[in-house]
């Protein structure tokens, strides 16, 4: 590893092989995680009905394996995410090590929150399991409780998104500084990430906003992650030219 340069006149450093490997890995993981998360969202969107506990319980019972797969898919994303942050840190620490570490810290907190949030889905499954000891409670009540826990699953995602947005904004800022990828992509990242963090907080305080915009505020972020993933996988890192 090259020691940090003290000479402020020195232009950017050449890209190291480890950074290129990390870039390919990060690119692949962005796309892989996006594909799994779309699968998970679509499964849950189909099985979980907004205001109907009985129907939700029976559709989950009918496709329990699929439902469990969508939750395990989320857990797989979170495991991949940790490798992804590590890769981003390896690439971007040469721009500013301290700030790259800050971004990694935010995203580790995010992953911990999201990982534990999956517990609510398993609680719902347990309530619907028909185990003997649950006979003490009315079946309609168990179904209602299960549906309530699935609502909390969605809120847990929002709580995680606050930290996801902050960490991703910091990483995007480093992409912008680095000139490794097109600046437009980095700006999209800063915009999309901050929008995600702020809107997650806003919809917590004003649930009405969520009813109006739905998941639309996550679109710029989705576009950024897919765009950056494709770019890193296909084009790789661009060595910043001295003239730009």
């Amino acid at each position: 590893m090259t020691p940090p340069m003290d000479n402020p006149g020195t232009r950017h450093l050449a890209i190291e092989p480890v950074q290129r490997t990390a870039a390919k890995t990060v690119g692949f993981l962005y796309l892989f995680a996006m594909a799994i998360s779309i699968f998970g969202e679509s499964v849950r969107g189909r099985l979980i009905l907004p205001h109907d506990a009985v129907q939700t319980a029976s559709s989950i019972a009918a496709s329990e394996a699929l439902f469990r797969l969508s939750i395990v898919g989320d857990l797989i994303i979170y495991v991949c995410d940790i490798i992804l942050f590590w890769g981003l840190y390896v690439i971007l620490k040469r721009v500013n090590k301290d700030i790259a570490l800050l971004a990694a810290f935010f995203r580790l907190v995010e992953t911990a929150i999201l990982g534990v949030t999956t517990l609510t889905a398993f609680i719902a499954l347990r309530l619907l399991s028909g185990a003997d000891y649950l006979r003490a409670v009315d079946i309609a009540q168990l179904q209602a409780l299960a549906r309530g826990f699935l609502s909390i699953y969605g809120i847990g995602l929002s709580v995680g998104f606050v930290f996801l947005g902050l960490g991703s904004a910091v990483f995007s800022y480093l992409w912008l500084k680095s000139r490794y990828v097109p600046r437009g992509l980095a700006w999209l990242g800063i915009f999309g990430s901050l929008l995600m963090a702020i809107m997650s907080l806003v919809t917590m305080v004003f649930p009405v906003v969520w009813d109006r915009v739905g998941m639309a505020y996550l679109m710029p972020m989705g576009l950024y992650e897919v765009g950056l993933g494709l770019w890193l996988l296909v084009k790789g890192l661009k060595a910043p030219s001295l003239t730009s």
Binding site: P4, M5, D6, N7, P8, T10, R11, H12, L13, H51, D52, A53, V54, R94, V95, N96, K97, D98, L101, L102, F105, F106, L108, V109, A112, I113, V116, T117, D138, A140, Q141, Q143, A144, L145, R147, G148, S151, I152, I155, G156, V159, V162, F163, L166, K177, S178, R179, L201, M204, V205, F206, P207, P240, S244
Partner: protein, 246 residues
């Protein structure tokens, strides 16, 4: 134009650490006041009525708590950077404890939303009586408090580690380190809830004093930059292998 690998000055890191810690304090006051006013201990019905009448206020507090946690993540990073010259591994260990605490703390916010899921009258919840829903909602607030206390244990380990590193440093006063170690011990009482309950609120006083003194010192005085650089290079040489045949 691009900049080469940037290094922030130790004074800047110290100031940023102090500023983040201060913001963490400030943003956590409002949520504490709101929840103390709305949550009536032992009274699920009144608590439910209060929550429903002040949903925006209560959830603003939750959002602020998450922002406060974000500031604590920032404070963790900068304090790690400031104390790295004393002992890099220990400083990283303290930061890791803090991150676990932040995650647990943020997660406890999740239970703030559960009462509203139960109390806002979704049709499917009509299978419960109002009293049952209120009791369940109240139970989630109790769980939230307990989750929060679990987070405090990890913050205690962070504070203790930070205190020890300050005590061993040459560039900050030892008294701040001692106060931070006491702060850590104070938060660690939450490891055993009956002990924490019998000591409350006195077990939070060391935390308040220690963290406030560190915050103010970082903000106003920062670090002794010359000694910081000396300890940084000193730590560098200590890692060099010692020649065997001298």
């Amino acid at each position: 134009m691009t900049t080469p690998t940037a290094e922030m000055s130790p004074l800047f890191k110290a100031r940023m650490g102090g500023a983040c810690w201060l913001m963490c304090f400030i943003t956590s006051i409002f949520p504490l006041v709101v929840s103390a006013r709305l949550v009536v201990p032992g009274d699920a019905a009144t608590t439910a009525t209060n929550l429903l009448a002040n949903e925006g206020l209560f959830l603003s507090g939750t959002a602020l708590l998450l922002i406060s946690t974000a500031f604590y993540v920032g404070a963790t990073l900068f304090v790690y950077e400031v104390l790295k010259p004393v002992n890099r591994s220990l400083s990283l260990l303290a930061a890791f404890f803090s991150l676990v605490g932040c995650a647990v703390g943020a997660l406890s916010c999740l239970f703030d939303f559960a009462p509203f899921v139960l109390l806002k009258g979704a049709p499917y919840l009509s299978v419960f009586t109002l009293e049952q829903l209120q009791a369940l909602a109240y139970m989630f607030l109790v769980v939230r408090a307990q989750a929060n206390n679990i987070g405090l244990v990890f913050f205690g380990l962070h504070c203790f580690g930070v205190g020890y590193l300050i005590f061993r440093s040459t560039f900050m006063p030892r008294i701040v380190g001692v106060l931070m170690m006491f702060a850590g011990v104070g938060w660690l009482t939450f490891l055993f809830p009956p002990l924490a309950n019998s000591l409350a609120p006195f077990n939070m006083i060391p935390g308040g004093i220690g963290e406030l003194s560190l915050t103010l010192w970082l903000l106003v005085k920062g670090v002794n930059v010359q000694r910081w650089r000396e300890q940084e290079t000193g730590a560098g040489t200590r890692r060099d292998p010692v020649p065997l045949n001298t």
